[in-house]
């Protein structure tokens, strides 16, 4: 299934923030986690994650540190800041409202589809 580009873009920030709320992580691992969570349905162009992460860093929602990885390469790790936690909570409330509305609308659509015209 190909998911609409705007939908992917809108969900990217809350997804990344939520994944980071599980603990410190880095780009490749975040992409992998997104794949796991969506059962492989949500495909990102991997590189696009980085401008997003950098924007979050600029807005003080995440903090980044360079450290050595287990393979010995230098790697940039991201961690949620307090502002990031607050932002995640806000986004979560917003998405819950959207989610609820969508559920209602699907139920309506299903009902009217089952009734003969």
């Amino acid at each position: 299934m190909i998911i609409d580009k705007d939908l992917v873009a809108a969900s990217a920030t809350p997804l990344v923030l939520a994944i980071l709320s599980e603990g410190e992580s880095y780009g490749y691992a975040i992409i992998k986690r997104v794949g796991e969570l969506s059962g492989g349905e949500l495909e990102w162009t991997d590189g696009m994650l980085y401008p997003l992460l950098h924007r979050l860093e600029r807005n003080d929602l995440v903090k980044a540190v360079w450290a050595e990885s287990e393979t010995g390469r230098r790697r940039k790790y991201y961690r949620l800041t307090r502002a990031g936690v607050e932002q995640l909570a806000r986004q979560r409330r917003q998405w819950q409202v959207v989610d609820q509305a969508m559920r209602g609308v699907w139920r309506l659509a299903a009902d009217s589809a089952s009734q003969p015209a």
Partner: protein
């Protein structure tokens, strides 16, 4: 594995290719490279040959062009250093030609405009010169054309054009309908403040109507700094040209001075405003190396000077002698320090951690604040003795405005050095403060002549 060397070579090529994109910094490339290598490792564990693994990993990372465009969108200050992002959204040859035509046309129009009042008997030089008229209206001959240049270049919508015209029309009415007495204080104030007020209005055209956006404002601040450098360079060249003209015509017994004063200087100086702006727009990458160099050179020098001054004042205990020009002098000092600060902010990578130069910058701001405090104490005594004059009030207002800006900047800078906040906050503060300057200069232009009865 046999082809380990080949894989390294491939990754090296990929890195080289990426490095040519100016919107992507080397630290970003390193991060992406780590991603690429992780992906390759995973794919090879799944059984792919390293060639295939490399190709798949690069493909999944995304096309280099679209990726670097995404980075450029995220970092507009890097975009600034790179004229053309990509042929798709950057300036093509055709639009470059159109810009050139617009710039030259508007520069000529500005040069002609300044000669039009002559037709109505308002002479710009000579014994019957009407200096008063030109002092009040000077900015109105150049800046509307500059605003027009940007409005054209950014494709400002029709409503935007109307809004843009408002301040210029108001300025024209104020400068010419109010009954100023020649050489009065309020006239001098208009001459100083009107260009600043209108310059800040050009920001609206520069941002293509999106003047509320912080990144657009920051770009305008950058533009102003670079424009100043270009204009100075053009002025130096023009001065040399005029010097030689005088010299060679004197050799054949002709005096070229009237022609220079009547035509070359006024037309050249107004036209150069637009040409300078056009050069900044089209040659950003040439000049962008200059602002940081100037900052690096002069920040230590000015910090040293101010430190020595503060120590001397404290040591000798001599109070600042309050002449009429003193407050304006200290205003200029603060403007200069603010200018250095803005150059430094605009040239700085906002993600870089605090460094030694940041400490120096903070020291400079603090020294300027201390020196200004001395001056303010002295001036307060004088005002309580002689009351408010238009000059003193305007200078004092500007001084307080700058003081608030620099004081809060110093506070934010200290917090940044303590790693409590990110550098972006400092940028935001500067861009958010610009409307305060605009409001104050318009207050001086519109209200001061009336309040002080055209003194």
């Amino acid at each position: 594995m046999v082809n380990e060397g080949l894989l390294e070579e491939r990754i090296g090529e990929w890195r080289q290719y990426f490095r040519r994109r100016q919107a992507v910094h080397s630290a970003d490339i390193e991060e992406l490279e780590d991603h690429l290598r992780s992906q390759i490792d995973a794919l090879r564990e799944a059984g792919l040959h390293e060639d295939e693994a490399f190709l798949v990993a690069v493909k999944r990372l995304g096309e280099l062009d679209s990726l670097s465009r995404e980075f450029a969108n995220e970092y507009s200050e890097r975009l600034w250093k790179q004229l053309v992002v990509s042929p798709e959204i950057g300036a093509s040859w055709l639009t470059a030609q159109r810009d050139t035509a617009a710039a030259v046309g508007l520069a000529i129009a500005a040069g002609v405009a300044i000669k039009i009042p002559e037709l109505f008997g308002l002479h710009i030089s000579g014994p019957r010169a009407d200096a008063s008229f030109y002092v009040r209206n000077l900015s109105l001959f150049a800046l509307p054309f500059l605003a027009g240049f940007f409005a054209l270049k950014r494709g400002l919508h029709r409503r935007g054009w109307y809004w843009l015209a408002v301040p210029f029309v108001v300025a024209g009415l104020v400068a010419n309908l109010m009954p100023f007495k020649p050489n009065s204080h309020t006239e001098t104030l208009i001459a100083i403040h009107l260009p600043i007020a209108l310059w800040l209005m050009v920001c609206f055209a520069y941002a293509g109507g999106q003047w509320r956006r912080h990144d657009q404002r920051m770009n305008y601040v950058r533009f102003s700094g670079e424009w100043f450098i270009y204009y100075t360079l053009i002025a130096l060249g023009g001065g040399t040209l005029m010097g030689f003209t005088l010299f060679i015509f004197r050799a054949i017994g002709l005096d070229a001075e009237p022609a220079l004063e009547e035509w070359v200087l006024p037309c050249g100086a107004t036209g150069a405003v637009i040409i300078g702006a056009w050069l900044v727009e089209s040659k950003q990458s040439v000049i962008e190396n200059m602002a940081p160099v100037l900052t690096w050179l002069f920040t230590p020098l000015f910090t040293g000077l101010l430190l020595i001054f503060v120590v001397t004042v404290l040591w000798t205990g001599s109070a600042i002698d309050v002449e009429r020009e003193v407050l304006i002098g200290f205003d200029l000092l603060l403007v200069l320090v603010l200018g250095l600060l803005l150059y430094a902010i605009s040239a700085r990578d906002s993600q870089a951690p605090p460094g030694r130069f940041d400490v120096l910058q903070l020291l400079l701001v603090i020294c300027a604040l201390i020196v200004d405090a001395f001056a303010l104490c002295a001036i307060a005594a004088r005002i309580s003795e002689f009351g408010f004059s238009p000059n003193k009030t305007a200078a004092l207002g500007m001084n307080l405005l700058l003081l608030v800006n620099l004081g809060w900047s110093a506070f934010l800078y200290a917090r940044f050095l303590a790693r409590r906040i990110s550098f972006t906050r400092l940028e935001r503060w500067q861009t958010a403060y610009i409307p305060a300057f605009a409001m104050w200069t318009w207050i001086v232009v519109l209200l001061f002549p009336v309040i002080f009865n055209y003194r």
